[in-house]
Every structure is written in C-alpha cells, then in structure tokens.
Symmetry: D2
Subunit: 336 residues, 4 copies
C-alpha cells in the first residue's frame, strides 16, 4: 500500500459498531436505556456502562459515559482486522488528520484507532471485541422494546456534499438515498450511506457541525414502535417522545425520535429495506418534497430541526452544547 | 307502560347500528371506503351505497348517501324488537319530540323510527335488518384495514351535562369515562356512553351543535392503524390523515382520525377495553389533563377542534356546514 | 321472588370473575404466571397467591392455591349485588343443590356463595371485591404477554346438552356458537355461552366430568401469541406448549394452549368478536367439521383431547386426577 | 485471470436473484401467487408469468413456467457485471461443467449463463435486468401478505459437506449457521450460506438430490405469517398449509411452509437477522438438537421431510418427480 491509497482500498469497514453518549447521571441513564428501552448491560466500570442489543455478538453496541454535559463521546466503526487499523493510521497521517490509539480505555475492546475526521467528528475504528452471549433466542430476557442492533448515526456538517464524498470516495460507503437541491445544481443536502446492507450506517445532513443529530436503534417489528410510545409515556417521560410514530419517505422506516433524560436524541427505527446490490442507483429526493420526511405528511416539531448533540474532542473531552439552530433549510411545514 | 316510563324501562337499545354520511360524489366516496379502508359493499340504489364491516351480521353498518353537501344524515341505534319502537314512539310524543316512521326508504332495514332528539340530532331506532354473510373468516376477501364494526359516534352539543343525563337517565346508557371541570363544579364536559360492552356507542362533548365530530370504526389490531396511514398516504390522500396515530388517555384506544374525500371525519380505533360490569365507576378525567387526549403527549391539530360535521334534519335534508369553531375549551397545546 | 323463579330472573351474572388453580409448588407456579405470562400479583397469604390481569378492576382474576395435587379449586362468577346471592342460595336449596357461604376465606372478596352445581362443578358466586389499581395504562409495568382479562372456562360433562340447558335456561347465558351432531338429532355436543359480551364466559363440552379442560386468558393482540411461544420456549418450558398457535373456527380466536408447571392447562386467546346482540342466532357447527377446531387445519395432539383437570369438591378438597380419556368423540385427525 | 482462479476471486455474486417454478396450470398458479400471496405481475408471455416482490428493483424475482410436471426450472443468482459471467463461463469449462448462454429466453433479463453445477442443479447467473417501479411505498397496491423479496433457496444433495465446500470455497458464500453430526466427525449435515447480508441465499441439506426442498420469501413482519394462514385457509387451500407457523432455531425465522396448487413448496419467512460481519463464526447445531428445527418444539409433518421438488435439466426440460424419501435423517419426533 501507499499513503495515496484510499481507505476503501486498504481497509474493510464492516459498519457502525457502537456509539458513546455522555450523560450527567449514569444511573438514571442506565435505568432509562435498560429498563424502558431494553438494552442489555454487559459490564460497567466507574465511568461507563456498556450496553448491547439482542443481536449483538460482541461486548457493546452503546456506551454511556459519565460527563459534565450531554453529547456524543465518539462514533465507532468496525473494520475487518487489526491490520486495517495500521494502514488507516498511515493514511490519516498522510491526510494530516490527528489520530490516537486507544487501548484498554474501553472494556471488552481491542486496540482501536481514533481520528478527528475532516468533518470534525471523533471517529473510532476497531477490529476486535470480546464475544458475548447472543440474546436473540433468549426471549424471556427481552425487556422494553428490545432493540436488535445499533443501526446508524446521523451527523450534521456544514458541507454535506463534501461529507458524502468523504464517506463514499474515501471510505467506500454505498449510498442508498440522497436529498438534493433543485436542478441544475443538484447539490447534495443529505445522504444515507451504508457499509452493512441496510439503508445506512451513517447519514450526513447539512447543518452546523460537527454535531450528531441522533443515533438509530433497530426494532424487531412495527408494533414495537407503538409499544415504545406506551412504555416511555407510562414511565412519565412523555416529553421525551419528540417525534413520531410516523414513516419516513427516505428509508421507508417507521420511526420514533426520543430524547433521553439528558436530552440526547435517539431514533427507534424499523422497516427499512435490504441494500448491498451495487447495481442499484441511489433513490433521489428533492429537498422540497415533504414526503421524504414523512410519508404520512405529519410535520416534525421545530426542536427536531434546531437541536443537536455536541461532539467530544479527540481526547474525549470538550462536549459542549452547540449553538442553535443546527439544521439548515428548516421546512415551512415545521410545527411550532 | 305509561308515557312516564323512561325509554330505559320500555326498550332495550343494543348499541350503535349504523350511520349515514352525506357525500357529493358517491363513486369517489365508495372507492375510498371500499378500496382503501376495506368496508364491504352489500348493496346500492340510486342514491345510496350500503356498506358493512367484517363482523357485521346484518345488511349495513354505514351508508353513503348522495347529497349536495357533506355531513351526517342520521345516526341509527338498534333495539331488541319492533315493540320497543312502538313504545318509544309514544314516549317521544309525550316528550313532544318530533318523530317519523321510515319504511322502505333504507334497503335491508325493517320499519324504523326517526326522532329529533332533545339535543337536536336526527336519531333512528330500528329492530330488524336482513342478515348477511359474516365475513370474519373470509380473510381472503378482506381489503384495506378491514374494520370489524362501527364502534361509536361522537357528538357535539352546547350542554354536554344535559347530553349525559339524556343518554344515561332516559336511554339507559352506561358511562365508561367522563371529562369534568375543576372542583367544586365537576361539570361534565364530555362523556363516553355505552350500551354494547365497549367504552362507548356514543360520546357527547361540549361544542356547537347538533353536530357530529366523528364516527369510529373498530380495527382488528394495533398494526392496522399503521397500515391505514401507509395505505391512505400511498393512495395520495396524505391530507386526509388528520391526527394520529397516537393513543387516547380516555378509552385507551390507539387511533387515527381521517377525513374522507368530502371532508367527513371518521376515526380508526382499536385497543379499548371491555365494559359492562355495572359495579364499575366511570373513570373521571379533569378537563385540563393533557393525558386524556393523548397518552403520548402529541398535540392535536387545530382543525380537529374547530371542524365538525353538520347534522341533517329529520326529513333527511338540510345538511349545512356548521359555523366554526365547533368545540369549546380548545386546549393551549393545540398545533397551529 | 319464589323458589320457582329461575336464576336468570332473580340474579344478574356479570360474567366469569376468577378461577382457582391448585398447584404443588406455589413459588414455581407464581414465577411462571408472573414472570413469563405477565399476570400481576395483588397479594398473597400462606396458601394462596392472588393474581390479576391488566384490565382487572378488582383484587384478583386468578388464584394459585397450594395443594397436594393439580386441578381446579373453584370457578367463580360475579353477580351484581349481595342480594342476588341471597336469592340464588334459596333457589339452589329448592333445587336440592348443596351450597356453602364463603367469608374471609379469599382475600379481597366479600361474602360469596359456593354451590355444587347439577353438573358436579364447584361454582362460586360473589358480588363484591376490593378495587385495585388499573394497569392498562401502566405499560412500563407490563411483562410477558400481559393478559388483559380472564376470558372463559371450558368444562367437560357427560351430558353437554343438559349443560347447555342449565346455563341458558336456568342461568340466563347467551349462546354464541355450538357444535351439534348430524341431523336429525342435532344433539348439542358443545356450546359457547356468555354473560359478558364476548364469545364465552363458559364452554360446556362432552367428556368425562366434572372436569375442567382449560381456562382462557385474553391477550391484547395477535402478535402476543407468537411472543408467548418465544418466551415460554426460551425459558425452557418447550413441553408446556401443547397446541398452537392456530386459529379456532369456533370463536375465531387465535390461540395457544399451555400447560403450567403442574400440568394445569390454560389458553392464551385473542381475536374473538363482540357478542351481546340478542337478535343474533348461534353459529352452528357440525361435530365432524374439522374447521371448527382449527381454521388452518392443523391437528391437535392427542393429549389435548385426553387430559383434563380434576375439580375440587365443595369444601375445596378432593382434587384428584380424572381417569383418561376425558373428551368424547376424539376426531380422526388427532396427532399421535 | 486464469481458469485456476476460483469464482469467488473472479466474480461477485450479489445473492439469489430469482427462481423458476414449473406449474401445470399457469392461470391457477398465477392467481394463487398474486391474489393470495401478493406477488406482483410484471409481465407475461405464452408460457411464463414474471412476478416480483415489493422490494424488487428489477423485472422479476420469481417465474411461473407452464410445464407438464411441477418442479424447479432453474435457480438464478445475480452477479455484478456481464464480465463476471464471461469469467465464470471459462471457469466452469475448466471444471468440465456444462454451460449454456441464455439470451432472450427470459423477458426483462440480459444475457445469462446457465450451468449444471457439481451438485447437479441447474443454476443461472445473470448481471442485468430491466428496472421496474419500486412498490415498497405503494402500500395501497399491496395484496395478500406482500412478500418483500425472494430470500433463499433450500437444496437437497447427498453430500452436503461437499455442497458446503462448493458454495464457500469456490463461490465465496459466507456461512451463518450449520448442522453437524456428533463429534468427533462433526460432519456437516446442512449449512445456511449467504452472499447478501441475511442468514442465507442458499441452504444445502443432506438428501436425495439434486432436488429443491423449498424457496423462501421474506415477509415484512411477524403478523404477516398469521395473516398468510388466514388468507390461504379462507381461500380453501387448507391442505396447502404444510407446516407452521412456528419459529426455527436455525435462522430464528418465524415460518410457514406452503404447498402451491401444483405441490411446489415455498416458505414464508420473517425475523432472521443481519449477517455479513466476516469476524462472526457460524452458529453450530448438533443434528439431534430438536431446537434447531423449531424453537417451540412443534414437530414437522412427515411429508415435509419426504417430499421435495424435482430439478429441471440444463435445457429446461426433464422435470420429473424425485422418488421418496428425499431427506436423510428424519428425526424421531416427526408427525405421522
């Protein structure tokens, strides 16, 4: 290899592996995600609770870290081998992107590479993680809405056209769907990008960034979206039900956006489709097509457009609230 | 009997039987209700299409009538026997309420009694109707979301306290739930009243009346509510999806409010509970408790409060739009 | 009243109230019904655990009683008032049926009347029970498959034609469906009898009796039947899954028959229809129509026909296994 | 390339593309698959009806061909490019496997390569097919149980260990799960092999072959399995419901096996999991573990083991019934 080779040529990214949310009250957050949502606790240390989903094969798919402010610690993608990591480190150096090796800092995980990517996000790549008991067929242990996997992360960046290029051309992501401006520009306003064969591992949307709009968890069936509303509301978290249930035009997923007790946003998500056939062209949506947001026409609330999560710096610190509004091009049909 | 005996002493109302909607384009309405919603056409004549649900045992549960304006023609309750009708006619006369006998005007139905009730609604009572094929186990013929039955009618009247008394004390309805004002008044703002053993056959809410807020159809399961959104939106009727899906606090039903092509409103409804145990006290909700509207906290749109359907006169004519707003006490949390 | 008046003229039976199962290991049974099935424990004493369902308004809908053998302690129907009980006691005396008053023996329940009915079953009637918190909208507390209510009891008796007459003519039950022999006899082989407005509170089938074939719990939706299979199997109770999931022809219910750790049988049941309209004739099935058993054609296992639960005597003792086979007319298509 | 290079090095198989079923009555088969199951007709010619699923992006995923006997015409996998096909043809020649080019014979499809593979199956590879309207968001056009895609084919061959090697080592399939004999042999009895990121595109089981046990269609959610039973039974095809609904241990899928009017077998299938992470080891099941067949313990009927579909020869002819029994190692717990 040479440092001129793009990452898509020197490494095999498997997909989104996990994400770390910063929370001020670790127990409160743990109870919310475990007792109500139905993530499973694998292990914990002084500052972190490591959680996984029913289909998880390895130690964690989601980490709660005690911090002074809410936000996102890092976003972690899995690659095929430790050798991939070595080659990626050299490529990032060549691109003059700051990296650091993480070893022993996260329980259950092998040596990992963190980088501040060109969009300003703190991204981690890892190849090895401890296997754990597979919970798919332990139905008697399922609780809440039993998310099957971490599905995707949705990121805001001022230049989403560039974000698309970074993910597709450099990292080798496929594109399932995209939103673009009117002709003749056809400028990419947002894209849904995948390595695993679903609609996305990462979405990149236009907005003030680097910030994370939400992380998405996959649910096993449509009825679980209704169940999520019922459980979260019954437990007194009515205000946490930010948007939905409804169906996205883009991705076709039935969704519910939820704010956790710290205000971090996640999406419960089900009903997208299988991707991976490289002969399929991306589905293209015009920015002004309201169906792309919701097939059913129901308008999102304003805060869904205006609020987003801060991104921690490469050293894991510096999670500060991003000034509002976050997302550009708030449509006319928003709910005030 | 004497004319002093109340109807609850001289007749046995079985529950809501059917309702007649006035539509300007009969074919368009028929296609909407049959092809998308999944009602079944039993028969038609020049001006009317007679529809039923999968659990219907008799000729019709819903009638579409060609008219110059949208609205509700009549609301029809079933009683146990033709003798009930005779006794009721005398009682209404004694109460100086105008009645008329209907015979042969509606296909499939025996002699029926129509009355302009004290709230100003045109109510029909009938005892006999032609039996039809039961479609519950004809799953291969089910279409759309396959409503199981007509469940209830929701009516607006300026004095809902009186409406409650009329339905309970005179007609013998049970009360499953009610909304009342603050103490010490505890004035009834709305009540959910039943003869069949569900939460309601009729709801009476405070508003400008006589007008009909909506009719409710029962769906077989929660997933059908999501399916309804998908089907109606896919068919190009996105604007018809007025409110939902969400879960009511009152009744616990999962719901979707839909406007038909003429603007008439119906509710797709599932997941309420069995009533009928006479030892159970009504569930009481304070008017200002937002949970009574939606357990999940999602606010209704303003038009859900402001718009309602006109009621035809006793002769079946005179369906005129009611001036807005219809409902009193629009909450602060309405969506504009 | 006179002792010549039938119970249907002197009392108002509301429906099945609860049933008592005898179990050898109280903790094991409690864990099975609470942790896996999702009944809720209201209270316990030395020998009994009192359980209820999500829609229960009163203290218990199901009782586990420690005993030396599995079986059914008593079957309990609710009536409208204590006065009903007094009148019923006199009527039973006139019919020379043994009765006893139960007071304080069951926690939460007012004075109750137990009778050995003409079919030999120990039946209890009660009018009053302590109200409890309604759990319908406490979705965060739902576990397992969250039964909504106790729905029905299914009883075996050698003369089911007489059983039908006792329940309809004496007790005033309606009949939703029945199975009968070929013409010209049309002898009733089984009947589905209701007081609440569902297909049945009690079914009476031909077999060696008095014995109880099963008790049915209502589930909130069809998907919960699948969930029940998954949970029960995951917990290691694969052998408890006796029959189903499938759909009955009779009642149209989607069902799963389960044997508890003591071998007692219950049915998880959903998707029947509303009854109560007195103008509707019972649906009649020929005994040899295989569709009445399962709409989908799947044959039941032999033990479903051959095994049944013993009935305790009026004093609550004497639960002894009934000699097999229990049910007459085992069809040819049974699974060996 | 050289003819020594394995196909996994010279071609990119995307996954199962479509399968061709031979039927004696084309209209009857078309009505069954379109009206009841919910496949969509794209086009037809004199001898064939071309069908697709809701997620299909191209002309067909399933073909019905008029023939003198039931069976399977060919099994077709998609590759990335026409160049792949050229390279594969040379490789098959080098392996002395008979091939033929198919051009114009199947509507909508580009030039395709058919081969008689070492297991004796007639396999087609194609790279190009006409795009069609995507039906995912045309919910108003969905009928029946609306299969989302053709998911997999299940094949019988006498030496399933060799079949595993052919698919993994030569063709580059991943292995999600496998069934093996007792130690120390650990001989592979069956394997679930994938190119797309699901549990399988192809399963290879031990039995008399080449024959096809079934083709699997993916359904959008668990409730659709119940709906399939209801629809198929209501339409009078009770005998077509061969096995299920139940959940497989292997794959975790909820399933229903159905025989079409010609006796061809397909599986309706939902609820498996995402694969594709190359670091995950296959899940290994012992041949005698009954849970691998059904998590719920319900035994399959004998005909499920004994009957299978004949495979047409390379020229498309010669579909003859395979003599029974087809599958080796019929377990003790089969239903007679």
């Amino acid at each position: 290899m040479s440092a001129n080779q793009k990452i898509r040529e020197i490494a095999n990214i498997q997909g989104l592996g996990h994400i770390e949310f910063c929370v001020r009250d670790l127990e409160r957050a743990r109870d919310f995600y475990v007792d109500l949502i139905g993530l499973h606790e694998t292990e914990r240390d002084a500052d972190r609770v490591y959680l996984r989903c029913t289909e998880s094969r390895e130690h964690h798919a989601f980490v709660l870290r005690k911090a002074d402010a809410a936000g996102v610690g890092h976003i972690s993608f899995k690659v095929s081998s430790p050798d991939d990591l070595e080659r990626m480190q050299k490529r990032f150096e060549a691109l003059q992107l700051p990296t650091r090796w993480v070893e022993g800092e996260e329980l259950g995980q092998g040596r990992a590479l963190r980088v501040r990517d060109p969009l300003g996000f703190t991204i981690e790549y890892y190849a090895e993680m401890e296997p754990v008991e597979w919970l798919v067929q332990k139905y008697d242990q399922h609780r809440g809405v039993a998310p099957t996997r971490i599905d995707h992360v949705n990121m805001l960046t001022p230049d989403a056209q560039y974000g698309y290029q970074w993910y597709t051309d450099e990292l080798g992501f496929g594109c399932a769907e995209l939103t673009e401006s009117d002709p003749p520009d056809h400028r990419i306003w947002a894209s849904w990008l995948f390595r695993k064969a679903t609609v996305h591992d990462a979405a990149v949307m236009t907005g003030k960034g680097p910030s994370v709009h939400h992380v998405g968890f996959s649910l096993p069936d449509p009825i679980s979206i209704i169940k999520a509303c019922d459980i979260i509301a019954s437990a007194g978290y009515t205000d946490s039900l930010e948007r939905g249930p409804a169906r996205h035009g883009i991705s076709n997923a039935l969704f519910l956006y939820v704010r956790d007790p710290d205000g971090n946003r996640f999406e419960l998500y089900t009903g997208d489709y299988l991707t991976g056939d490289t002969s399929i062209e991306p589905i293209r949506w015009n920015l002004n097509n309201p169906i792309r947001q919701t097939l059913w026409g129901s308008p999102p609330p304003r805060r869904w457009f205006e609020e987003s999560m801060a991104m921690a710096t490469l050293d894991g610190n510096g999670v500060e609230p991003v000034s509002e509004p976050q997302m550009q091009a708030i449509p006319d049909y928003v709910l005030d």
